[in-house]
Amino acid sequence: MYERIREKLGILADAAKYDVSCSSSGSNRKNENKGIGDAEGTGICHTYTEDGRCVSLLKILLTNHCIYDCAFCVSRRSNDIKRAAFTVEEVVELTMNFYRRNYIEGLFLSSGIFKDADYTMERLVRIVKKLRQEERFNGYIHLKTIPGASDELLREAGMYADRMSINLEMPTETGLKLLAPEKSHAEVKKPLKYIQNSITQFQSEKALIKSVPKFVPAGQSTQIVVGATPESDKEILYTANAFYQRFSLKRVYYSGYIPISHDSRLPVIGSQPPLIRENRLYQADWLMRFYGFKVQEILNDIHPNLEVDVDPKLSWALRNLDQFPVDVNTADYYMILRVPGIGVSSALKIVQARKFGRLYQSHLRKLGIAFGKARHFIRYADSPIQLKDYEAGHIKGLILSESKSKYQKNPHNQLSLF
């Protein structure tokens, strides 16, 4: 008797999984009405899939019927797959029952476009409205913005959702036109801008009148598919950077393209998704958001792509050896943050601890920095006297030979002969 709902969930979860956003943090929705759920504060990953990705939200499509035929999308019109659609009630029931059992932090609801944008958006809004108003659900809701939906519907959606997102898909307009001639970046920018303006408007009203309701409190995000089209890392990261700045996005997600089509414009089925590249892009993204790096420092015309064998921070340091060594006992916090092997929390600990006395190697090791990597770039109270300056290539070789990189010399997907 459960077969129908199981089949639907199978189809519609499978179709939704290529959207990699899993965040459930950044909202401030408290459970104030003695209802169910609380989306305040940090997110929680309730489990991880076997591919190592966090499962925080029930991520499903309302339907995988779609009027568009985007080559990179598994739900494209011309793809011969099973189609299904949830009813409004089914989505609400699933969300509530999963949430009550502590399986999830909330709902990530997306959809294929059936009929037209407004028709689809209206259904999505109906679901989140029911959750908020009838079920008194205060958990996290991530709602997809359907390009082309009317401003009125977007505004209503924003009253119930914690986060809204709309995907750029390809990093450049040219790439997008190649695979999805019916789409454009312009139609992504328009609703991003509209929602951004509404957020600002609600915030300024809230400063005056406390009872102004929440509007997309966890902000907006987008996703860029990596490796489906031939853009360089520089093009990808510059696009991301522009969107962070122009639309105050909370996150840009990078999704390594998983081949799902025999289309000759795309990588063939069975080829390995670009996981290392995706990882390096996330690292570079972190450098921009939390480490005070400018995108031009990480990638530029001379270095249009991120290195595979070393992370972008180490790569930057090796190209800028004139800025090192950094003395941890005297340097500025932001310079300490730039040392490979020192992260945000150890950099903070270093500047706090050094007020009490000079820091020695033993202190640094215990504070939790990656000393083996950092030692080439720092000076501390008992640093050994260095007679000559090492070259970048030499340091890189030393670090690589000492470290056990998760990306070993042989990629793990490559079969060994013996």
Partner: protein, 255 residues
């Protein structure tokens, strides 16, 4: 060096700090009654837990540490680690003796130890917030049991009662044989006369479960499978995030 023996309680630990000032002991080794082995060459001083003395020390500490450090102190205490009592004792004396702000001296071994132990306990608390899987019983109570590495139950009520304000729930620690029960009004500690065993598949026998429970377990397992991308399979990463010792809680790992 003097040897202090205390009962292992937080009150006892704080009393020991009080006594060390009272008795002017410069260096103290602190052991619990449970771990104390009588020694011919050294007699221990027995600490009698005293609410008032404990409170005085705690108030003194609170003057020097902010909310965050007060919580860290408590979290480190809950770790049940053998050397944590000594660290907490030394830490308390260090903080009391120094001007305010000494909690930031991460190069100090006890400050660092407390900070790191508290972090471990915090992580375990966070894992419990993630890995608890409730099962709905026939009488509408959502039940889950756990066996956390540290005694994190006292840290959980706020999170769960904020979130599940409109449903009754029980979270039971099988290892330490007590649990939390939320009755829609408040959360209380409870002890079950006959605690269930940690079983691999479902925590509770099917005859006490809500008739729909099986469906949702099944749907959750289905969801877990469907949302995985086979082409990205990465077992090492999966196991790093969901260590094997927690699999027994997780219905999605039983499918």
């Amino acid at each position: 060096m003097e040897l202090y023996i205390f009962d292992g309680s937080l009150e006892g630990l704080l009393t020991a700090v009080f006594e060390s000032y009272h008795r002017k002991s410069p260096v103290v080794k602190l052991v619990t009654e449970a771990s104390y082995i009588p020694d011919v060459f050294q007699s221990g001083f027995q600490i009698l837990s005293d609410r008032e003395k404990g409170k005085r020390v705690w108030r003194g500490l609170c003057k020097k540490m902010g909310k965050e450090w007060q919580l860290r102190f408590y979290k480190a205490f809950l770790s049940e680690q053998p050397d944590v009592f000594q660290h907490l004792f030394n830490f308390s004396r260090y903080i009391i003796d120094q001007p305010a702000g000494a909690t930031e001296n991460f190069a100090h071994r006890d400050v660092l130890a407390i900070s790191q132990t508290a972090q471990k306990v915090h992580r375990e608390k966070h894992r419990m917030e993630a890995f608890v899987r409730f099962q709905k019983t026939g009488d509408g109570i959502y039940y889950a049991h756990i066996e956390p590495d540290f005694d994190v139950l006292p840290l959980l009520p706020e999170h769960f009662q904020n979130r599940y304000a409109d449903q009754r729930w029980i979270i039971y620690d099988l290892k330490r044989k007590y649990g939390l029960y939320y009755d829609l009004e408040k959360t209380e500690e409870i002890e079950l006369a006959e605690a269930p065993q940690m079983s691999i598949v479902n925590a509770l026998p099917s005859d006490v479960l809500d008739p729909k429970e099986q469906l949702y377990t099944l749907l959750w397992q289905d969801y877990f499978t469907s949302t995985n991308i086979q082409a990205r399979k990465n077992t090492r990463l999966h196991v790093r995030h969901v260590p094997r010792r927690y699999w027994k809680y997780l219905s999605e790992k039983q499918g």
